[in-house]
Structures are given as structure tokens and as C-alpha cells.
Symmetry: C2
Subunit: 206 residues, 2 copies
């Protein structure tokens, strides 16, 4: 990772195949093959995503992997109608949630500023806003980490969050923000790609 000049560091870039895999050719899968996804593969997704940055190293995202059986059946009942068949057919599903008490870990994760724990403890709006913002950033990292492991991700916002939280996180500490189907694409897995905004509609220069 370092060049011969101690004052500069040269980083590599992804090759075109890798860029396509993660970004430009990747698609949201809507059907899944029977091919199983192992617990080791699911753990490997988090092993990648955990390193990407968060504000003050807060890391508020929590991941519940639902594989099959009764847990899956319960999860499906909390999904919107249009998402139930997809979630029922995915070999694994991740419920991504924010931990509203992430600040209890501050003395461990931010050892040079442990007093930030009490700042968050005393300011509910700051704490919740920080949790939601950073957990959502981490959800973005998570989706790309699924793809990095060679799996298809199917993120969905259409679900009864209060229902999932009451069912799977009954202590009230975690709040679900996104549900992601994970697996290998099945038959006719992709819809036609929807248009992206043009560069001139998104990017400005100063």
C-alpha cells in the first residue's frame, strides 16, 4: 500500500470487472436459486462491512440474519405484500437495525474520548440522529459487501418496522431500517433497469 516516497502512499484501484460486479452491472435480485448461503458466507459479509467508517466510530448498525424455518415465516408476515414471495424464497435475509443505545460502546470504540458516551446519553435527538445516519451509511456498505462476496442483494424498504421490532427485538433497543434478501439469483431475477439521473442533474462543480 505504500510507495517508495514516504510522503505519499499509492493505492490500487479496482479493475473493470470488479467495478462492474459491485456497481455498474450489479442488480437487485427479485428471485433466488435454491443454492444455499452458508453461515460462513453471511459472517464474511459482516467481516467486510464492519471496517468501513462511521462518525466518531459509533458503528450503530446491527444485523439479524434470518435463515429459514419459523423465524423466516414470522419475518415474511411483516413484509409488504409485494415483498413476501421474495423474502420467502431467499436462502437468507438480513434485517438491518440501528442500536439506539450504541453510545454504551463509546469507551471501547472511541477510547480517546470516552466522555462522548454521556453527551449522547443526555441528548436523545442527537443520539437518535447519529444512530440513524450512521446505521444507514453502514447499510450502504453492507449492500456492497454482499455483492463483494459474490452474492445478490435485494434491499427492501417495504415492511412493518414496528412489527419486526416487536417480534425480533422485543427489548426495544434495536429499530429496523432495511431488510435485505441474500442469495444467488434464480429464474428471471432482474427487472428492466430503471433510469438513473444524468450526471448534470446530480453533480455540480465549484
Amino acid at each position: 500500500m505504500t510507495s517508495d516516497n514516504p510522503d505519499t502512499h499509492s493505492l490500487g484501484a479496482l479493475d473493470e470487472t470488479a467495478k462492474r460486479l459491485l456497481f455498474s452491472d450489479a442488480r437487485t435480485a427479485n428471485t433466488f436459486a435454491d443454492t444455499p448461503v452458508s453461515d460462513a458466507e453471511l459472517a464474511a459479509i459482516w467481516e467486510l462491512a464492519r471496517w468501513a467508517p462511521t462518525s466518531a466510530n459509533t458503528q450503530p448498525l446491527r444485523v439479524l440474519y434470518v435463515r429459514g424455518g419459523a423465524g423466516r415465516d414470522r419475518l415474511v408476515t411483516h413484509m409488504n405484500d409485494g415483498n413476501r414471495a421474495k423474502t420467502a424464497s431467499a436462502p437468507a435475509v438480513a434485517v438491518l437495525a440501528m442500536d439506539d443505545r450504541f453510545h454504551e460502546h463509546i469507551p471501547t470504540v472511541l477510547p480517546y474520548k470516552p466522555e462522548l458516551r454521556d453527551v449522547f446519553a443526555g441528548n436523545d435527538a442527537l443520539r437518535t440522529g447519529t444512530a440513524l445516519f450512521n446505521a444507514t451509511l453502514q447499510a450502504g456498505y453492507f449492500i456492497l459487501a454482499v455483492r463483494a462476496q459474490g452474492l445478490a442483494a435485494g434491499p427492501m424498504g417495504g415492511f412493518d418496522a414496528a412489527g419486526i421490532d416487536a417480534d425480533f427485538f422485543p427489548d426495544g433497543r434495536f429499530h429496523s431500517i432495511l431488510v435485505v434478501n441474500i442469495g444467488h439469483p434464480g429464474k428471471d431475477p432482474w427487472y428492466d433497469r430503471l433510469p438513473r439521473l444524468g450526471h448534470d442533474e446530480v453533480v455540480r462543480w465549484a
Copy 2:
């Protein structure tokens, strides 16, 4: 991207070098070399990030690239004290903002459901929540797209958002959510890595 069996599709995975580049070895740079970053490189970052998914294809993130000169000087004044030297030394800086009127694009980006534009127009809380959530997801994609291009990212939450918005987005439509320094790492660019939460603290299984 497809296997011989029409009912399943095999995706590739990133190799270990690529995984390290994007996730496990990547670090937030705090100093930058003089090596310039070209407009083509900055455009290429967005060319990757634009493809990653958002709810209902809403794509509410907007990117302002600030390169140098008077714009940079103004931006630095809006950064928190601890971030000013970093932003002043980065060859390029991205101000990431959410577009609170993203729904005006719905008939283009979601052509099968153009009526969603009016749903968002009539519900400020839904519109703003959708904009913030999806723009933040896209900010996560953006940070990894910077790394995919072989550049170091330095995301910062410490800035006067109202000041940036009044200065750079005076029509009131865009709201800054994150500022990201972009460049090649300089001298002593990385602090010691802060601890990540253990898998057992983040991941649950059902």
C-alpha cells in the same frame, strides 16, 4: 454473468486484494499528497456510485465537487476547527447533499408509478425521511466508490451544515449531509485504527 443453467445466475466475488482495497485495509486519510485529482476521476466516482440501489429508485443524493480557489476557501470556513486543515489540503472535496425535491424526477426515474411524485409532494415528513435515508445510503456507496477509483476518502460530519447550505445551495433545495475529502494519502495519513465491535456484538442469528 450467467451460468449454463437458465434458472440460476452465477456472480463473481471480489478477490482478496480488492476486498482489502475497499473494506478491510482501507483507511480514512487525514493528510493528502499534492498529487492532483482530475475532473475525470471525480466524474468516474459518480459513474460508479450512481448505479447502486435506492428505494423506489429515488436517487436523492446530490454531489458538489469543490476543487480549489475561492470555493475551497469558503468551504473551509464552514468546517469545524479540527477539520479545516484536512479540507484545505485535500485536492478535491465532495459536499454530499440530499435534494428535498427529488420527487420531481419520479415520472422519469420510476416511469411505471409516476403518481408517487404527488404522494411525496403532499407528505413532507415522508418526503424528507425518504430523502435523508436514501441519500445517506448513497453516501455509503459514494465513499466506497472513491476507494474503488484508487483514491482515499476522508468523510467528515463536523461542519456547519446551515452555513454550507446558505453559501453553496442558496435556493434552499439541497441540504448537506456529509463532506468527503478526496485525494492521494500524504505524509502520516492514518491514525491508529480504532476498534471495531465484535461480531457477537453486532450479528444475531434467527
